[in-house]
């Protein structure tokens, strides 16, 4: 081949011209010295030589043509398999470069506009020459690119052959060292898509006319191979892409033909069923469906196929390990560009885990709503804005019962805070309290809230306890519950009645005890009266004086004195129980006990108790029962004084304090009706009462007890309203309290500042 190529080079037409010239040079002086006869001889020789050269050229052309035909047929055979086209193109380029003794061959794609890029996609370059691949700006070769795009062959033996308008092309070619160039357009279906170019860099060379059609033929072979290669690559890539997508998708995918028979399952499906593709294709997939679901699934699928409608099925799919998986199978009709139905593309999701989770959620929800619903109390959940989002049965029942009540009749969707505001504006103090409590919990100002109030429906009064608990979730809100505590209140009422009886008994007892201390003194004169009367009767008798009226008068006198004594005795009988005096009594404790005893009674009367205790605990000596009786008396009096006041604050402040060393003080301050100066002076006397129906004994007994303990009691009018009663008791000294309650603190905490609506009931 190489020999042939070099032969072709030396035997090229320029060589022939040279040889003709050398004939003239070889015989210069034969011609000068010879005759005209030689001219003919010379003409003959020339003729012979020309003839020989023509014969040789024909032979060369034949050989070249043969080689070209061989190359083209080799290439055509190689290009049958489109996959190897790029490789074969490069090999062909190499072969051509060597056979034509060239330096470089380039196959390039050509943009359609002049400023486009020329992409050198394949090239072959002789060793020692710079290779050429990649992007070449087409504006560097505007003239050549334009010629090629117009379908012309560009053939340059020398760069000088370029027209003057192709200066840019020329300069750029020169810069690359190109000496000769031939370029053929690649045409696919009449459009120029690229170019095939050959060039020499070491020397200039001519491009024989017969070479051009061959190169065109070669270009055609290349162009069609490339076009086929590209089409096949695109198709393969498209399919590869689909498979990649289908196989990596997190769901199962299938395809079907227009007849509904499955034509494709992706890897995920096959992995789940554990079957080979052929087993599930066609109608085979139905075997993977759970027997109980199969008939329905197949039936539904068929009717969807015949209607060519999208469908969604759920059924159990048998997994490779025999486990049944719930799946959701969604099919969408495939319509081609002509609008024809070509089958389905289906996607299948395993929803077993989802189903399990859903069932768990449903069960948990059912359980919760069962608990919520079965609650005896009325429960409503509100969101952070106060809108009711759920209520239980009990709430609904109560709402129906009370209907018109803006707060308790509220249902889902109603803003509960607004309902409370509305009721509060209408004068419902309980609604205002509820509003404050709920708002405090919603805004996180209070961890929870609880309040008690009376609800009066048409017929009866019922007591409720309202509890507000925060709704512990990101969106916030609260749960409000009402519990009917009427029965509890009734029970408390009963115990209150008992306490009142006890208090009453204690007061009577006190009276009896008081009388006991006086009994001796009273009985003495009574005994004298009786004895004197009876002595008088006997003396009259002894002296024989009969005076019936005097005798009767003396008898009556004795009898009446006996009667008076009997009264004293009966009173004394009430105070048989004796109490031992004790030392080291905690005065704070005594006061707290009484306050606790009266708490519900005071709460019902809507009276706030402010309890303040000195940080040191005064210890006193005496009878704890009697001392408590004094405190009880003062509290009962205070609450009755408040009960008699028409309006204003309802407060009792109880203070225990160490007034001076050895002197403890209990102060009971009320906001009741108070007393005038005259009443103040006499109120501790027996049988003096400022209260309607009062016996006038309470304060008298209290004074007796206090004085018996070595203390004193006094009353004073408050600057604003009500009275303050002060009890001073000698104390044994004081010990620091373990837990000092600071002034202003309220105790016991449970009923701090409670303002509970209640009707006043006289004790």
């Amino acid at each position: 081949m190489r020999a042939g190529a070099s032969n072709a080079g030396t035997a090229a037409p320029p060589g022939a011209v040279e040889r003709e010239r050398s004939v003239w040079n070889l015989q210069p002086w034969y011609i000068v010295g010879g005759a005209v006869a030689l001219v003919v001889q010379a003409g003959l020789i020339v003729g012979l030589l020309v003839n020989r050269a023509q014969r040789r050229r024909a032979q060369r052309e034949l050989a070249e043509r043969l080689r070209f035909e061989t190359l083209v047929s080799d290439l055509s055979a190689a290009f049958i398999s489109a996959r190897d086209v790029p490789q074969h193109i490069e090999r062909a380029l190499e072969r051509i470069v060597h056979e034509l003794d060239l330096d470089r061959a380039v196959l390039a794609e050509l943009g359609q506009a002049h400023d486009d890029i020329i992409w050198a996609t394949h090239s072959w370059t002789r060793d020692g020459i710079d290779p050429l691949l990649g992007a070449l700006p087409s504006r560097a070769y505007p003239w050549i690119a334009a010629r090629l795009l117009d379908g012309h062959v560009v053939s340059l033996s020398r760069l000088d052959e370029l027209p003057s308008t192709a200066r840019t092309d020329r300069e750029n070619l020169a810069a690359r060292g190109t000496q000769s160039l031939v370029a053929v357009p690649l045409t696919v279906e009449g459009t120029v898509t690229g170019a095939l170019s050959f060039s020499t860099l070491r020397a200039e060379r001519d491009w024989p006319d017969e070479l051009v059609p061959r190169l065109r033929l070669l270009a055609e072979v290349f162009a069609s191979a490339l076009a086929r290669y590209r089409a096949e690559t695109a198709a393969r890539e498209s399919e590869d892409r689909f498979r990649l997508l289908a196989d990596t998708a997190p769901l199962m995918i299938w395809l079907s033909g227009a007849d509904g028979r499955r034509t494709y399952f992706n890897r995920r499906w096959l992995e789940l069923t554990g079957r080979r593709s052929e087993e599930d294709l066609g109608e085979g997939w139905a075997d993977s469906v759970h027997a109980d679901d199969r008939a329905l699934a197949v039936e539904s699928y068929r009717s969807a196929v015949s209607a060519r409608q999208p469908f969604t099925l759920d059924y159990r799919l048998r997994r490779w390990d025999g486990d049944d998986r719930w799946v959701l199978d969604h099919g969408v009709p495939r319509i081609d560009e002509n609008g024809a139905f070509t089958g389905y593309v289906g996607s299948v999701i395993d929803i077993t885990a989802l189903n399990t989770a859903l069932r768990a959620v449903l069960e948990s929800t059912a359980l919760r709503s069962a608990i919520f619903g079965s609650l005896y109390g009325q429960v409503a959940a509100i969101d952070r804005d106060g809108v009711i989002i759920a209520v239980n049965h009990s709430w609904t029942r109560f709402a129906e019962e009370v209907g018109t009540d803006p707060t308790r009749g509220a249902t889902v969707g109603v803003n509960y805070l607004d309902a409370c505001r509305q009721a509060a504006a209408a004068g419902d103090a309980d609604a205002l309290r509820a509003l404050e409590a709920i708002t405090a919990v919603l805004t996180g100002k209070r961890p929870d809230a609880r309040l008690e109030y009376a609800f009066r429906s048409q017929s009866v009064e019922r007591w409720f306890e309202m509890t507000v608990e925060p709704f512990r979730r990101p969106d916030g809100g609260a749960v409000i519950s009402y519990i009917d505590i009427t029965r509890r209140w009734q029970a408390e009422d009963e115990s209150r009645r008992q306490r009142e009886e006890l208090a009453h008994a204690q007061r009577v007892t006190t009276l009896g005890e008081l009388s006991a201390s006086l009994a001796h003194e009273i009985n003495q004169p009574l005994a004298a009266i009786v004895t004197n009367a009876q002595a008088a009767i006997r003396l009259l008798d002894r002296d024989g004086i009969v005076h019936a009226d005097v005798s009767e008068a003396l008898t009556d006198m004795a009898a009446d004195a006996q009667r008076a004594s009997a009264i004293i005795r009966r009173l004394r009988a009430l105070s048989r129980k004796e109490h031992a005096s004790q030392r080291g009594l905690d005065l704070n404790q005594l006061v707290d006990n009484v306050v606790t005893l009266l708490r519900y009674d005071l709460a019902r009367k809507n009276i706030t108790v402010l309890r303040t205790a000195d940080p040191v605990v005064p210890l006193v000596s005496g009878d704890p029962i009697q001392l408590q009786q004094v405190i009880l008396n003062l509290l009962v009096n205070a609450s009755e004084a408040i009960g008699n006041a028409p309006d204003g604050p309802r407060e009792i402040a109880i203070t225990t304090a160490l007034r001076a060393p050895g002197l403890a003080e209990v102060r009971v301050r009320d906001t009741g009706v108070g007393a005038n100066a005259a009443d103040l002076e006499r109120m501790f006397e027996r049988f003096v009462s400022t209260k309607p129906g009062g016996l006038g004994m309470g304060l008298a007994i209290s004074r007796s007890i206090v004085e018996a303990h070595g203390g004193r009691i006094a009353a004073e009018t408050n600057p604003d309203r009500g009275l303050t009663l002060r009890v001073e008791l000698p104390c044994d000294g004081s010990v620091p309290a373990i837990e000092p309650s600071l002034p202003g603190q309220i105790s016991p905490g449970v009923w701090d500042q409670q303002r509970i609506a209640g009707e006043r009931k006289p004790l």
Binding site: Q524, A527, I529, T531, N532, A535, I537
Partner: protein, 117 residues
């Protein structure tokens, strides 16, 4: 017989009554007065108040018993309770009377104290 009571008014009334009943009566307003009397012949019977200014009735009785004198006693008291009554019986009282008492109860008691002499 002797009557001891710290209430002078009652003491006078008792003297009148017992005089009328035909008894010879000496009265004292305290246990100390009784013990200090000028002519200390033991009386046949004592009408004795439980609560006296100085020595109580019980204490007086204990002293008399301690001194070996067994004098029948009728206790009278204005301060009647179970403890007092109990103690009176244990001290060997012939009678225990709550003031104000009936003349017949007193005379019956005194008669029993003086015995069937």
């Amino acid at each position: 017989m002797c009557v001891i009571d710290d209430d002078v008014s009652l003491l006078r009334a008792l003297r009148r009554l017992l005089d009328a009943g035909g008894f010879q009566v000496k009265t004292f307003s305290s246990a100390e007065d009784f013990l200090d009397r000028p002519n200390p012949t033991p009386p046949g019977c004592l009408v004795l108040d439980v609560h006296l200014g100085g020595l109580s009735g019980f204490e007086l009785l204990e002293r008399l018993v301690a001194a070996g004198r067994r004098i029948p006693v009728v206790f009278i008291t204005a301060h009647d309770d179970a403890a007092t009554r109990d103690r009176a019986h244990r001290a060997g009282a012939v009678e225990y009377l709550r003031k104000p008492f009936d003349d017949e109860s007193l005379i019956a008691g005194v008669n029993r104290a003086l015995g069937p002499a």
